[in-house]
């Protein structure tokens, strides 16, 4: 009933090719954009911005990038943290070495550097697949970790290897307040999500999906695996690189290589898997699940007024979080995005299911 597209006629090619052909989807997106751009800034406090929304947005961007690679092109990567680090350190180096550079330009250049590094570490994917590729990208993680903590040039020879940057300043406006940072991240994320949505339903995205589903068949129908795989690595690394730059410049403002360690790679991969492989929506749902839920679980006992020791809270947090991951994967292996799709189908038939 709610999701019925009956009566929505497509009368032009443009309407037929729209990103969201169903009116309900468009309304839904509009509501979310309204919530994101208007309701949240009005209703949130500093804690919500700094500890929840900003990390969520940036990690959602990284998850989006990784989803293009893992979900759409089927190339498993464990190097996300490293590509984020490339973005962050590249942005830092562009920004310190070119005085007066617009930070947005620095972020995009950083994305470019991450793209090059991503392609470089994507080359093994032409020969190896699956678990073996995951191990090859793991090499990227360890190698880049090592590079940033050992080679002083990248950190501008700071003695402790920790970098500090001032607030991002664009056209004379300093993004220092949490709201402005949030809006900056949200704008970038929305732009990138639109780009991602359009890439995956276009020629490139289709060539990725064909490669993912069966690479031999894809090759036979004329898709060049090298272009498909390397372009997936390139686009994905660009997204992740920009996310890394934002993570460093907007969220942390001061970071060390440990901020982009193997755990970051894993957590983003989990976001993609739990959220739903091959779904833009899934990246958002997964990022929300992984970033917000632990904080929620951690504070729940205090909110409902149960006195538990700090250590117990964090143990409970780990246990419930782990159990929920298993639960979600067991109940819906295709991720939360799939649950949402099932929900939509149910809503379509409701109240007369057959």
């Amino acid at each position: 009933m709610f999701y019925r597209e009956a009566g929505q006629f497509k009368t032009s090619y443009t309407a037929d090719q729209a990103a969201f052909p169903i009116a309900q989807d468009r309304i839904f997106i509009a509501i979310w954009l309204f919530i994101g751009f208007v309701a949240v800034p009005l209703l949130s406090n500093e804690y919500l911005f700094r500890a929840i929304f900003i990390p969520f947005l940036i990690l959602a961007l990284a998850a989006l990038g990784l989803n293009l690679l893992v979900g759409y092109c089927g190339q498993v990567s464990l190097g996300t943290g490293a590509f984020m680090a490339v973005g962050a350190y590249a942005a830092y180096n562009f920004w310190t070495r070119i005085p007066g550079l617009n930070p947005l330009v620095a972020f995009m250049l950083a994305g470019g550097v991450a793209t090059i590094v991503g392609i470089l570490f994507g080359i093994p994917s032409l020969r190896i697949k699956g678990f073996y590729l995951a191990v090859a990208t793991l090499a990227a993680q360890f190698f880049l970790d090592w590079v940033f903590s050992r080679i002083g040039w990248f950190t501008n020879y700071t003695p402790s290897g920790s970098i500090a940057v001032p607030p991002v300043e664009l056209f004379g406006f300093a993004f220092a307040s949490p709201v402005s940072k949030y809006l900056l991240c949200l704008t970038i994320l929305v732009l990138f999500a639109v780009v991602a949505k359009n890439i995956v339903r276009g020629r490139i995205g289709r060539s990725w999906m064909a490669t993912r589903d069966m690479d031999v068949a894809a090759e036979i129908i004329g898709i060049r695996p090298m272009y498909a795989k390397l372009s997936a690595f390139a686009v994905s690394s660009f997204f992740i690189g920009v996310a890394g730059a934002l993570w460093g410049f907007v969220h942390l403002e001061s970071w060390e290589p440990l901020a982009f360690d193997i755990n970051r790679s894993f957590s983003i991969l989990f976001m993609v898997i739990i959220g739903g492989l091959g779904s833009i929506m899934g990246a958002f749902l997964g990022a929300a699940f992984i970033t917000v839920l632990p904080l929620f679980l951690n504070q729940l006992p205090t909110w409902i007024g149960i006195e538990v020791s700090t250590a117990m809270i964090s143990h409970i947090e780990f246990m419930i979080f782990g159990a929920l991951i298993i639960f979600f994967l067991a109940v819906e292996p295709l991720g939360m995005a799939r649950m949402w799709r099932i929900g939509k189908e149910k809503l379509r038939l409701w109240p007369f299911p057959y």
Binding site: A51, P166, W255, L258, G305
Partner: protein
């Protein structure tokens, strides 16, 4: 109907719960302290006693004196797991609590200190990093809100070099000796490197460094390098599980334990106990105090533990890290007390407490009054010197106890100060901070 009944019951229970917990609001003024702790994860063995000492002292002051001059101490713990992102989240969570917000924050992690330095500056909350944090933050004209009280890592490294110099009959006798630093591969572990490199150049000893990846349970290759190179001394800049692993590995490659010197974060019971007899002879620098009990411990046992409010095992009271957490609480409270002298006995803001830390002056008499005689040297903080004291001793583990094996050694400030000022000036330039002019 039945669901409504259930709901009603839950609501009733919640109402009852909330009245129960809102009872202690009889004190008019409160001073809120956020506590960033880690009671889980690979650093928990060291994080737990520290947090217990902190909390026990707060509870003791509330129970014995009714707070700081009648202003009740409130606190809330937040688990960081030594992870920087969680630490920042905890800081954001706790900074606004209490009537006047957080008084002062002690992150107990150099990584978190780096991440919070700018944030505390804008939020006007002082940050006490007792024996850790940024070494250049000693310069209070640039780092107005950072207080690395009682010693920075550069101080620690300097004292260690002086100590091994003394053992050899003078710093110039170190020429040709080999000193290896085994460090936690994080800002924490890297902090002492500039100073050690400078000292190596001055005295002609060969300095090499071996990083150990977080959390530090895998150190075989590091210690095989030690076995190959046979350095005269090994400095250990580890934390948590990394320390006990290092000592075990040293025993495995038969590197003499009495040639290993830990930093003050690698010189407590949880570091040596797991290594068993292999740890005998191991030495470390102390952050002025060692293990042991003084008058204040008797009060803690009497007012907190005997009432059943102790936050850890009674046997841990007086352990090295317990004492350090306690001392951290002592200086925080004394800073508030100092600030109360100027601003009045009420809930103070972070900005007012900052004044209190900067004007903190604990002389020998006051230290005795506090019941921590022998645990710390007189501490006098000033605008230009946020460290307050640069003296330390070396202690050695005999298999059961820590014993002092050196006299007080003072770090050479004529060497440290120019380094601090250069690094602080660089920081100020990067961040666009105009240093304040210090009168003292």
């Amino acid at each position: 109907m039945r669901t409504f009944l259930k709901l009603k019951l839950v609501l009733l229970a919640m109402a009852a719960g909330s009245t129960l917990f809102s009872v202690p609001a009889v004190f008019a003024a409160e001073q809120f302290f956020p506590l960033l702790v880690y009671r889980s994860g690979p650093y928990a063995p060291n994080g737990i006693p520290f947090a217990n000492g902190f909390v026990d002292y707060f509870n003791m002051i509330n129970a014995r004196d009714g707070g700081i001059n009648g202003v009740k101490i409130t606190y809330e713990e937040c688990e960081t797991g030594y992870a920087t992102d969680r630490g920042v989240e905890c800081y954001e969570r706790l900074k606004g609590k209490g009537p006047t917000g957080a008084s002062v924050i002690s992150p107990l992690s150099t990584g978190i200190t780096f991440a919070l330095t700018e944030k505390t500056h804008t939020d006007k909350i002082p940050i006490i990093t007792m024996g850790y944090g940024r070494s250049e933050s000693v310069d209070g004209s640039v780092f107005q809100w950072n207080f690395p009280l009682l010693g920075s890592y550069w101080t620690a490294a300097d004292i260690l070099v002086q100590h091994v110099g003394n053992l050899n009959g003078g710093l110039n006798k170190l020429k040709g000796k080999k000193i290896t630093l085994i460090y936690h591969d994080s800002p924490y572990g890297k902090e002492p490197i500039p100073l050690l490199e400078k000292r190596a150049k001055m005295h002609g000893f060969k300095f090499s460094k071996i990083p150990v990846t977080h959390p530090g349970v895998e150190q075989k290759s590091a210690w095989l390098q030690v076995r190959k190179n046979r350095p005269d001394y090994v400095f250990l800049w580890g934390w948590g599980i990394m320390n006990s692993t290092a000592i075990k590995e040293a025993a495995a490659v038969r590197y003499p334990r009495d040639k290993i010197y830990g930093v003050w974060w690698a010189g407590a019971e949880p570091d040596v106990r797991p290594a068993g007899a292999g740890a005998k002879g191991y030495q470390s620098i102390t952050l002025q105090h060692s293990a042991g009990k003084t008058a204040v411990h008797a009060d803690i046992l009497k007012y907190v533990h005997d009432k059943g409010n102790g936050s850890g095992p009674k046997g841990d009271v007086g352990h090295v890290l317990y004492n350090r957490g306690m001392l951290n609480a002592v200086v925080s409270i004394e800073a508030v007390r100092t600030a109360q002298g100027k601003f009045g006995k009420k809930s103070l803001t972070g900005e007012q407490v900052r004044w209190g830390i900067e004007n903190l002056d604990l002389d020998a008499k006051r230290i005795k009054e506090l019941g921590i005689d022998g645990m710390m040297q007189p501490l006098k903080v000033s605008c230009s010197d946020h460290e307050g004291s640069r003296r330390a001793r070396i202690h050695q583990w005999d298999g059961n106890n820590w014993n002092f094996v050196s006299d007080w050694i003072e770090a050479d400030n004529s060497l440290l100060r120019p380094m601090v000022e250069t690094a602080a000036a660089n920081y100020a330039k990067d961040k666009g901070i105009t240093p304040v002019t210090c009168k003292s």
